[in-house]
């Protein structure tokens, strides 16, 4: 077996200490009818019983990986092909970060703990909020956790008062549909109701709709930029939500905050909770995971915040140091009454994002954001296709193909190009629409190549 250090001599002397004749004897408490004593009937589907060598395994995996390589990516929709500085993963994959457990023993985990404290600071700076947690799983499930948090917070505020829509949350219509699906599937089990406000002809949520709801919801969720890449009227929505006593939940792409207004500054009062997916911050797309979700909030709501939080404290000598804090909210202490069941989170990705943000700095992040916008502008210009919505877009844009988009995407794929997302499966009224995206990595020649291929595919299919 590849990873066992035991020599025959070791086994013999260890068994002697234990007082067992053989290893099988160590399993003598297990009912024999349950015990699999033969070898090999758990065989993996590939490879023989003895297992592959690392060389064979890598060849097997590399052949498969090669089959999936494609050309330049113009697909976004929640996962973005950004440049990742080489230093990010050279450092994040150091054994000391990658093979440590959750930092329960603070004195032996100051590296990870300080880094998370720095991460919390950076995310607070980006969103303008007071605090950030040390990650939840991803943007989709993170939205669910955020909704649960908002409902809890709402219930605390409305204690004594009639329940009303306190277990209902309103979502803007153009929140990422896969986030909405995940959130529904999770919060539904606590009887929380999600209502979606339709998006208007311009692709945006109508702030007026918020106050128009029969019962004011616990929270209003808006995504900026929204799923269509458009800039919502976040100021008005925030104000309307607050007006009807709801919390404002912002779902954001943290990369765009290099340029876009921090949610804390939305409207008069600012968003109350900010969530999102950290993938754009130095995380490879990697089929969507591992990435990480994050939740930021105001100091007043910190005890409702799920997930781990690191605090600065002092050691016996009075020197500063870092430790997990507010653990009394967590499942291992609070059990059935915890803010969430989350335990293992996405720590290594937080590590990468922290290094990424340090390397980019304020100017770097702003320039990445502006380059993404500029390249998308170039794509829209090159494609010469009508835009479906006329609100300002950031780095994704919905274009009308005048024919079903799905076959076009397939054609592009057969030429090794990720040409965007066909919106039909998500919004039946948009089946002739393509959501395209460009990041700072796309070159003029990528864009030309893409435009030619897409125009050609559209022409042939028409």
């Amino acid at each position: 077996m590849p990873f066992l250090p035991h020599t025959n001599a070791d086994v013999a002397s260890m068994l002697a200490v234990v007082g067992a004749a053989d290893i099988d004897e160590l399993f003598d408490e297990i009912p024999s009818n349950l015990l699999n004593t033969g070898r090999g009937n758990n065989a993996p589907a590939a490879g023989d019983a003895a297992g592959m060598s690392e060389m064979e395994m890598l060849r097997h995996m590399a052949e498969r990986a090669r089959a999936d390589e494609t050309g330049p990516c113009f697909l976004g929709a929640g996962a973005y092909d950004h440049h990742i500085p080489s230093a990010v993963w050279d450092i994040a994959s150091r054994g000391e970060f990658m093979t440590a457990y959750t930092p329960y023993q603070a004195e032996a985990s100051q590296g990870t703990l300080q880094l998370v404290y720095e991460f919390q600071t950076m995310m607070s700076e980006l969103t303008g909020m007071d605090v950030c947690n040390a990650s939840v799983y991803d943007g989709g499930s993170g939205l669910a956790e955020t909704i649960l948090m908002a409902v809890r917070a709402g219930e605390r505020r409305s204690k004594g008062r009639p329940a009303g829509g306190r277990r209902r949350v309103a979502l803007a219509g153009a929140v990422h549909p896969l986030y909405v699906a995940a959130a529904r599937n999770i919060v539904g089990h606590q009887g929380i109701d999600i209502v979606q406000l339709p998006y208007g002809e311009n692709g945006l949520a109508d702030p007026g709709r918020v106050t128009g709801l029969s019962e004011p919801p616990a929270a209003v969720v808006v995504q900026q930029p929204n799923f269509f890449g458009l800039l919502e009227n976040v100021d008005a929505i925030t104000d309307q939500a607050h007006e009807c006593g709801a919390l404002t939940v912002a779902c954001v792409n943290p990369m765009t905050l290099g340029l876009l207004k921090a949610p804390a500054n939305w409207g008069d009062g600012g968003a109350d909770i900010v969530c999102g997916d950290g993938q754009p911050l130095g995380i490879p797309m990697a089929s969507g995971g591992p990435s990480f979700g994050f939740i930021c909030t105001r100091q007043s709501l910190v005890r409702q915040l799920p997930g781990r939080i690191v605090g600065r404290t002092r050691d016996l000598d009075g020197n500063p140091g870092f430790t997990l804090t507010l653990q009394a909210r967590e499942q291992h202490i609070r059990r059935a009454k915890a803010t969430s069941n989350i335990c293992t989170n996405q720590g290594l990705l937080v590590t990468a994002a922290t290094i990424y943000l340090s390397l980019l700095g304020p100017e770097g992040l702003r320039n990445v954001a502006s380059a993404c916008h500029a390249r998308t502008r170039d794509v829209v210009a090159a494609l010469e296709l009508p835009r479906r919505f006329d609100a300002p877009y950031f780095h994704e844009c919905v274009l009308r193909l005048g024919q079903p988009a799905q076959p076009i995407v397939e054609t592009m794929a057969s030429r090794g190009m990720l040409g965007g997302l066909a919106l039909g499966p998500y919004f039946s009224d948009l089946s002739d629409c393509l959501l395209v995206c460009a990041t700072e990595k796309r070159t003029t020649s990528d864009i030309r190549q893409f435009a030619n291929a897409l125009q050609d595919a559209v022409r042939r299919a028409a």
Binding site: M1, Y137, P290, F292, G321, H373
Partner: protein
């Protein structure tokens, strides 16, 4: 150590990482921020040096023996990291069409089959992103099953008193009520207590086996029968599967649904907090409720599918795909024989370590039971005699260059250490740990203050958790620079 913010200076930057600026004149002013966020402004060397140094403050598998019970801190093969880092996988967009995803889908399908075989479950869904999310899926499936049958009164989830915190927390998140079932002095669930607890409100029972006490629940078949007879279903928390991998299949024990912690049993690195992956497996009854997407093999190739009564997706995309690839790579290197040996040698190491510690005078919590892959030492006697707590003991162990075992879990046993050496550690490492434990024991007797004020040789002295929670300091503030 200074924070990255202390190193920052206005206008300093890692120039090679800053793209050229572009005009955004066309964007509405109201949508833009007025000031740049106060992210650190450092040079590339400063960032590299800072985070490289920070890494050196951690204990990790790659640098220390790490017998953290319930966490299965085994060797994380570097080859699995490389496999998952192949550009074709790393650069794959989650929504790439199936036609250009056959390699990735083939991998997932292969892993589904491996996990089916290893657990005896007929179907597996890989999407849950950690153990707790797997648990959520499982409990949600149980609820959906009962609901589909119109059996709407079942909203109670039973857990042994020793259950891991995620079990009750998950049940709550699924809208269930949690009932704890007592555990007897031999570490097994009390059958009478269980019988008393089940009833028409019973949705199911969640348990690990081996239990969080590191003991094999010997009457598991009887337990399964009691729950099933009462109309409930059985959830297997697979976080402890390492002990019996390849030896016992959860399906054979009577479980209906389970999750596995790939970041434990399948050696994917824990990353200082994650990511993990918590695939769920189900037998015939619950398979239709599995979360999607699942990979199906057809004559035309692999494709995504959703089980007919799926509880739906729990994440935006396909779970922690990169972790799944690592687990597959690991399983392929183990082969079926290797998989069986995992459980065998994890158990050998644990029993050897328990025996050695017993010889050194430590109290094993369940001395008459076989240890599985982990076991409990209680330091209640030492606490009484020397005033040295399990936490003091743990902190002092750090000074000996080993990570401490899990402390104060399970809650049942006072002043406890849950110790899990894992199968990838050598006899010499285990012996060195025994020496460290024996030394600390001697110090506890001769110089308890030394132990109570430990650690002494780490980057920080004992940190004040109470202070941390009382005076919350959760982010660096510019004013601190002047301190």
């Amino acid at each position: 150590m200074e924070t990255i913010f202390d190193l920052a200076r206005a206008q300093r930057r890692a120039g090679a990482q800053v793209p050229a600026p572009e005009s955004v004149e066309d964007l509405p002013k109201t949508a833009l921020r007025e000031h740049l966020p106060a992210l650190p402004e450092v040079s590339e060397l400063q960032a590299v040096r800072h985070y490289t140094r920070l890494s050196g403050l951690n204990y990790s598998i790659d640098t220390q023996f790490y017998p953290l019970g319930s966490c299965t801190m085994k060797y994380n093969p570097r080859g699995t990291h490389r496999a998952a880092s192949t550009p074709g996988f790393l650069d794959r967009h989650p929504l790439a069409p199936v036609s250009v995803s056959q390699g990735f889908l083939a991998c997932l399908h292969e892993l589904q089959e491996i996990l089916q075989r290893a657990t005896g479950m007929g179907s597996v869904s890989l999407t849950p992103m950690a153990g707790a999310q797997g648990e959520f899926a499982g409990v949600a499936m149980i609820r959906s099953y009962h609901a589909a049958r119109g059996d709407t009164g079942r909203n109670e989830i039973l857990v042994p008193a020793t259950a891991h915190g995620t079990n009750p927390a998950t049940a709550s998140m699924c809208g269930c009520i949690v009932r704890e079932v007592a555990v007897g002095p031999d570490g097994d669930v009390e059958i009478e207590a269980l019988k008393a607890a089940v009833g028409p409100a019973t949705a199911g029972l969640m348990t690990t086996n081996p239990s969080t006490c590191g003991l094999f629940e010997r009457r598991i078949e009887e337990i399964a029968a009691i729950v099933h007879d009462a109309g409930g279903l059985l959830y297997y928390d697979g976080a402890n599967l390492n002990a019996v991998l390849g030896k016992v299949k959860p399906a054979d024990m009577g479980f209906d649904v389970l999750h596995l912690n790939l970041h434990k049993t399948f050696a994917t690195p824990h990353g200082g907090g994650g990511p993990g992956a918590g695939p769920v497996g189900a037998g015939e009854l619950l398979a239709p409720y599995l979360p999607g997407p699942i990979v199906e093999k057809t004559a035309e190739g692999y494709r995504w599918t959703e089980p007919p009564h799926s509880i739906g997706r729990l994440s935006a995309f396909m779970g922690n795909a990169g972790i799944l690839l690592r687990a597959l790579a690991y399983a392929l290197m183990l082969g079926s024989e290797g998989m069986q040996r995992v459980g065998e040698f994890a158990t050998l190491n644990a029993n050897y370590l328990a025996a050695r510690l017993g010889q050194e005078g430590f109290d094993i919590a369940y001395p008459n039971r076989r240890a599985c892959h982990e076991f409990i030492v209680t330091l209640a006697a030492q606490k009484r005699r020397f005033g040295v707590s399990a936490m003091d003991f743990a902190k002092r162990l750090l000074d000996y260059g080993v990570h401490a075992p899990t402390t104060y879990f399970p809650l049942l046993v006072p002043e406890c250490f849950l110790i899990e050496p894992t199968e990838t550690e050598s006899k010499e490492e285990i012996d060195a740990f025994v020496d460290a434990m024996a030394n600390v024991l001697a110090e506890a007797e001769s110089n308890p203050e030394l132990v109570k004020s430990a650690p002494h040789d780490l980057p920080a002295k004992r940190l004040d958790d109470v202070e941390a929670a009382r005076r919350l300091d959760l982010r660096w503030q510019a004013r601190k620079r002047s301190l």
